[in-house]
């Protein structure tokens, strides 16, 4: 299973909208609008019970995350090296194998929702 770069860059662009929210609000003060905003970024609709429970739970969890402020800065990248291999053609999935789990297909392609 591979990530779709398009989805991720779109989410990143949307996430940039939250800068103002970060500056304006105390991070441990979470209301239902904050939860709805993040749910929108993540493309996850919430059930009513989840919308009700999440603000308080998130406030408690984020307050716990705040203790990371006590952590000193560390040099973190020292031991990383790239691992490369030659870019050679290899056997992969057949078209029918790749399409087998799709909810809808058409003429050998995935069929998805309209984009606008």
């Amino acid at each position: 299973m591979s990530d779709s770069p398009d989805e991720r860059s779109e989410a990143a662009a949307d996430a940039a909208d939250t800068v103002d929210a970060a500056e304006a609000a105390d991070a441990t003060d979470v209301d239902v609008e904050d939860v709805d905003h993040v749910a929108g970024l993540a493309r996850v609709d919430l059930e009513a019970a989840e919308r009700e429970a999440f603000p308080e739970q998130f406030a408690e969890i984020l307050e716990y995350f705040e203790t990371l402020d006590e952590v000193p800065e560390f040099d973190r990248e020292a031991e990383l090296v790239n691992v490369m291999r030659p870019d050679e053609v290899r056997e992969g999935l057949t078209q029918s194998e790749a399409l087998r789990n799709a909810a809808e297909t058409e003429d050998g392609y995935f069929r998805g929702p309209r984009v606008s």
């Binding site: 989805e7 993540a42 996850v44 789990n101 929702p113």
Partner: protein
């Protein structure tokens, strides 16, 4: 014994006619891809999903002659400490059916404890092999990051997770690790280590002259019965010729926070792939792109998965990234450095695997913070990329207690050796 709901799918996959695991039955956690056999991750999202290829560890089981007997139940996408977040109902602890088996590899540990499989594969992102091993009274190993291929493991948090063995004895767990360890061209994070492993041979119980570091921070706040049982096991190691010394790891006080920031951040990215188009549950394609995805994901994911995706999205979003994600990476580097320093003086590091006894079913599932804090002793190991084993240390109040032994990077032989002495 009554059905403990250890399996999501019971299906036999025969391996080669002979090999080191010929005649051995294996339960495989249901986030590990099996070609032609449904692989759900314990989620409605992947109900009915049939992988077109095998995970590398499954290929290695088959080549070694093992017989896979089913796909083991698990917390949804590995997100849980009790196996109660599974879409397919909770697994029960074979030791006490009113209690949880631990998680997230609860089905794997329960299958072994109940005798429904000889050995099992689980996956460990923040303790998910060691926790259920401890709660079910069996052995579980979280290998060094990069020892075992993750190809075909459906990702939750790539930088933290490893596939690991669960078995009734240290030697059997080590023998299963021998089969799955070693480099894989399909996973660029694997290393040469483990190519010709014989970890099973290290289960010789010889701890004469071994130095065991005991971390006070990992005993603080633990259940009294857990502490007493683990201390008794350590005294027993001393009687066999090991020396125990106290080692302080101040960074571990921040491990759970760092773990949950990093794991949820990675999860929010990894689980973005589930959109109902290429595989998995689909709510239909009636609305536009964004509405359809949000509805599909609302129906397909359970509450804990949504909670973690949202927390990770929050932690990575602009304005909060430096505050949470960057600081969590600092904490991760600090934990790694603390362990490096400690291993200059000791051979292995010991702690209770879990600071608590197995929860009763339903006891903590509605309180995410309580659940997260139960991972205090296991998450530092994943942050530091180290190997660790949970071995039964005895019982408290009639319930199993696990001793965790942590080794230096690729020090699997040392933790197997130390753990085998605990069994004697």
């Amino acid at each position: 014994m009554a059905d403990v709901n250890a399996f999501i799918t019971e299906e036999t996959i025969e391996g080669a006619d002979d090999g080191p695991l010929a005649g051995t039955t294996v339960a495989v956690k249901d986030n590990i891809s099996t070609a032609g056999v449904e692989t759900t991750c314990g989620s409605r999202m992947l109900e009915g999903y049939v992988p077109p290829y095998d995970a590398t560890v499954v290929t290695r089981l088959a080549d070694a002659g093992a017989t896979i007997v089913g796909k083991a139940n698990m917390d949804e996408f590995g997100m849980g400490t009790t196996t109660e977040t599974s879409h397919f109902g909770p697994t029960r602890n074979p030791v006490d059916p009113d209690r949880v088996p631990g998680g997230s590899s609860g089905g794997s540990a329960a299958a072994v404890a109940a005798g429904e499989a000889d050995v099992a594969l689980g996956t460990d992102t923040g303790g998910s092999v060691r926790c259920p091993a401890a709660f079910c009274g069996v052995v579980g190993i979280k290998p060094t990051y990069g020892l075992v291929s993750r190809y075909g493991l459906i990702a939750y948090a790539n930088s933290l997770e490893q596939v690991g063995p669960i078995a009734g004895t240290v030697e059997e767990a080590a023998a299963l690790l021998d089969v799955i360890a070693g480099p894989d061209p399909h996973d660029a994070t694997t290393r040469e280590a483990g190519a010709d492993a014989n970890y099973a041979a290290a289960a010789d119980g010889d701890v004469e002259g071994m130095t065991v570091g005991v971390v006070p921070e990992l005993f603080e706040g633990a259940h009294e019965g857990v502490v007493e049982t683990v201390e008794a096991a350590l005294s027993d190691l001393e009687a066999q010729g090991a020396e125990t010394v106290e080692v302080s790891l101040p960074s571990v006080e921040h491990a759970v926070q760092a773990y949950y920031v990093i794991a949820t951040s990675e999860a929010s990215s990894n689980l973005a792939r589930f959109d109902g188009v290429r595989y998995g549950h689909s709510a239909g394609h009636d609305g536009n792109w964004n509405e359809t995805f949000a509805e599909t994901r609302s129906e397909g994911f359970g509450e804990e998965v949504k909670r973690r995706i949202l927390l990770g999205t929050y932690a990575l979003s602009a304005g909060y990234h430096e505050k949470y994600y960057a600081k969590a990476q600092d904490a991760r580097a600090w934990v790694r450095s603390d362990f490096d320093d400690a291993f200059a003086d000791v051979d292995v590091i010991a702690s209770p695997t879990m600071p608590v006894l197995p929860f009763e079913l339903g006891e903590g599932i509605d309180d995410p913070m309580t659940m997260y804090l139960a991972d205090a002793n296991t998450t530092p190991v994943n942050l530091a990329n180290l190997p660790a084993i949970s071995v039964p240390a005895g019982t408290a109040e009639g319930l199993p207690v696990g001793l965790q032994l942590i080794g230096p990077k690729f020090g699997e032989e040392t933790i197997v050796r130390a753990a085998s002495a605990v069994e004697e």
